[in-house]
């Protein structure tokens, strides 16, 4: 099936205090209809900047797409005028953010905020928009929806606010939903509710989802395919089962080994030494080499992303041999 979104050689440049930095430097990926693509990585890896560029939400005057294309249904978002973007944003591509408190406007009621975009994108009248808003709130499992539309964000709990955000994002039946750490600010029992809701909505509507998170547990549960990012690049891409069964990049392996296991006892955790490089001081060659246990001479040169198996790509010189184990057992 034709991908709904294709990102080609995307570079994003930000103006920093000491010159320009490149939080995203050359990433390629696609999202198929009805698929959930996970983007994993730690702070500063460029995962949120990527989603901001897809939404056309890079801060004006600070950040810009300096190279590459973002094709949504074969139309390049990067070259769109603000007006063209407005028609797509919220209607065809919607987004859920991490912090539902800061992304809802505190001085408008839930009904007004939900209704605004329904009226704008679906051209409904005030009363119809209100009915649609109540219907959406019911779909996302909000009890007493008729009253909630008259309430303000501060009257709702974190989990309820995130449900409102999801209702808002889903109200125009978007083709693509970008969820940027949607459950990170929530407690585990509430997270379980929200993930359950997102899974059900996706099955019902067939929405494609880009799920951005740092939590590998959430990835395992929600995604079909996964991209691992490190320092502005994709370092591994694989179908979800393949990634967890057969991770190839030393960084991916390190990340997995760093998480304490719920199943078995470990005396010590594996830890990746050092810290993520600052975007203004990227190491030459492989960007992970300074922290890598297996770095060698070849790593001074930047490795390309290469296929090692069915839909499995790795940016590492060591992963050359058809995805075989390179003796790099961590943990």
């Amino acid at each position: 099936m034709e991908p709904i979104l294709q990102v080609r050689d995307l570079h994003v440049t930000f103006k920093g205090e000491d010159g320009e930095i490149h939080p995203v430097s050359g990433i390629d990926f696609h999202v198929r209809p009805g698929e959930t693509l996970g983007i994993v990585g730690e702070s500063g890896c460029g995962k949120s900047v990527t989603s901001m560029s897809i939404m056309g939400l890079l801060p004006k005057g600070m950040g810009r797409v300096s190279k590459g294309q973002i094709l949504f249904q074969n139309r390049n978002i990067v070259e769109m005028t603000p007006l063209q973007l407005q028609k797509i944003r919220g209607k065809e591509i919607a987004m859920i953010f991490q912090e539902p408190m800061t992304s809802l406007n505190p001085v408008y009621t839930i009904g007004e905020q939900l209704g605004e975009q329904i009226r704008l994108h679906l051209g409904l009248g005030k009363r119809e928009a209100r009915e649609k808003a109540i219907e959406m709130l019911k779909t996302v499992g909000i009890p007493r929806a008729e009253e909630v539309v008259r309430e303000y964000p501060h009257q709702l709990s974190g989990g309820m606010r995130q449900r409102v955000m999801i209702a808002m994002a889903m109200s125009c039946d978007p083709k693509l939903l970008i969820a940027d750490e949607p459950t990170t600010a929530l407690d585990v029992t509430i997270q379980a509710q929200i993930l359950d809701l997102m899974r059900n909505l996706k099955e019902k509507k067939g929405t494609s989802i880009i799920f951005i998170t740092h939590d590998l547990g959430v990835v395992a549960e929600m995604c079909d395919r996964v991209i691992v990012m490190y320092a502005g690049q994709i370092i591994e891409e694989a179908p979800v089962r393949e990634l967890f069964r057969n991770p190839q990049h030393p960084y991916t392996r390190g990340l997995m080994a760093s998480i304490p296991s719920m199943d078995h006892e470990q005396r010590r955790l594996y830890s990746i030494r050092g810290t993520v490089p600052h975007p203004s001081a990227m190491p030459p060659g492989c960007r992970f080499a300074p922290r890598c246990d297996f770095a060698r001479e070849a790593c001074r040169e930047s490795p390309p992303l290469r296929a090692v198996g069915e839909g499995h790509q790795v940016r590492c010189w060591l992963a050359e041999k058809g995805g075989a184990d390179h003796g790099g057992s961590v943990a």
Partner: protein, 322 residues
């Protein structure tokens, strides 16, 4: 069995809610009758969701905020009955590491001064000796003494947490309350800090109270674990017991809700309906009965007490098991 180094008995902390005119003053019972003991050299983990009172328990236990009721016995002395002056020498032995390494270090102080401050307050050593201790502690936490001249903003989150640990460790405490020490950190950095905390425990014979919302982190680091819900302990057990055979319905739900990094494991999930109730107006009886799939008539009226379940070490507060 080792003797308890720190004993918490029926600890209570109520925060007054600003009363409205003509309305009776009400209280948020952040901690409402919590009892447990920590043995020398062990790590007790405290888990629960936001607002369950786990951090308040940690702070009240250290008397950083005065308790409303109950006792805290440290080496047999009741901290609650001591005057601030009598308490001060004991504070040296009871330290805390905070969650947010960005907010807990003064941005205008150099690392050296941040680390010297506790020594000066407790009048430890001469000036020369203090400086030497600062250098030593920086090496111990894996930073290197050459960092002493820098300011907090020059460090990453993980490095700042090392400074926070150095600050509490420099007084050579016996007990450290670690309040969500790795929650603000990325996973690869989180494991570095967890390993450091374990190394320090061995090296300095430390006793930890480890507070976290992350079930897998608590399992990794703790010997015994307590689960809190709305200001009360609902279960307390050795970790092997608690994770393999949880007895309280809330513990079961909490454990089943945690996502597992394995796409083939689709756990039987108990999804709790609704939110955590408002702690200013907690439900009667068992505070969990509004969300409990097994709630009985009795649970609405009688509050269950923490009592031994299958062994004396495994305590649970639930009417299903009485």
């Amino acid at each position: 069995m080792a003797e308890a180094l720190l004993e918490v008995c029926d600890l209570k902390k109520y925060f007054p809610v600003k009363g409205k005119l003509f309305k009776p003053k009400s209280y948020v019972k952040a901690v409402d009758g919590v009892s447990f003991a920590i043995r020398k050299g062990e790590t007790v983990g405290l888990v629960g969701e936001s607002g369950c009172g786990k951090s308040t328990t940690g702070r009240t236990l250290l008397h950083l905020i005065p308790p409303t009721g109950g006792k805290v016995l440290y080496k047999g002395r009741n901290l609650t009955s001591l005057s601030p002056k009598q308490l001060r020498p004991l504070r040296r032995e009871l330290q805390i590491v905070f969650q947010d390494p960005y907010a807990s270090l003064d941005p205008r102080m150099k690392i050296r001064d941040i680390l010297l401050e506790p020594l000066e307050i407790h009048k430890i050593g001469s000036k020369q000796e203090r400086l030497k201790m600062v250098e030593e502690i920086l090496d111990i936490v894996g930073l290197g003494s050459h960092y002493a001249n820098r300011y907090p903003h020059e460090f990453s989150g993980g490095q700042r947490q090392r400074i926070g640990i150095a600050r509490s460790l420099i007084l050579r405490p016996a007990v450290i309350v670690a309040d969500e020490p790795v929650s603000a950190l990325d996973v690869s950095i989180q494991s570095q800090i967890l390993n450091l905390l374990q190394d320090l425990q061995e090296q300095f014979d430390l006793t930890y109270l480890f507070i976290s919302h992350d079930l897998s982190v608590v399992k990794h680091i703790s010997d015994r674990v307590g689960v809190m819900y709305l200001g009360r302990l609902v279960e307390f057990a050795p970790k092997e017991k608690l994770y393999a055979a949880p007895a309280h319905p809330y513990t079961k739900a909490l454990l089943s809700a945690a996502p597992v990094p394995n796409p083939d494991a689709r756990p039987q999930r108990i999804i709790l309906s609704g939110d955590v109730p408002n702690p200013a107006n907690p439900p009667s009886g068992c505070a969990f009965h509004t969300r409990c799939p097994f709630a009985m008539e009795k649970c609405k009226t009688d509050r269950p007490e923490l009592a031994p379940y299958d062994t004396a070490e495994h305590l649970v507060a639930c009417h299903l098991h009485t």
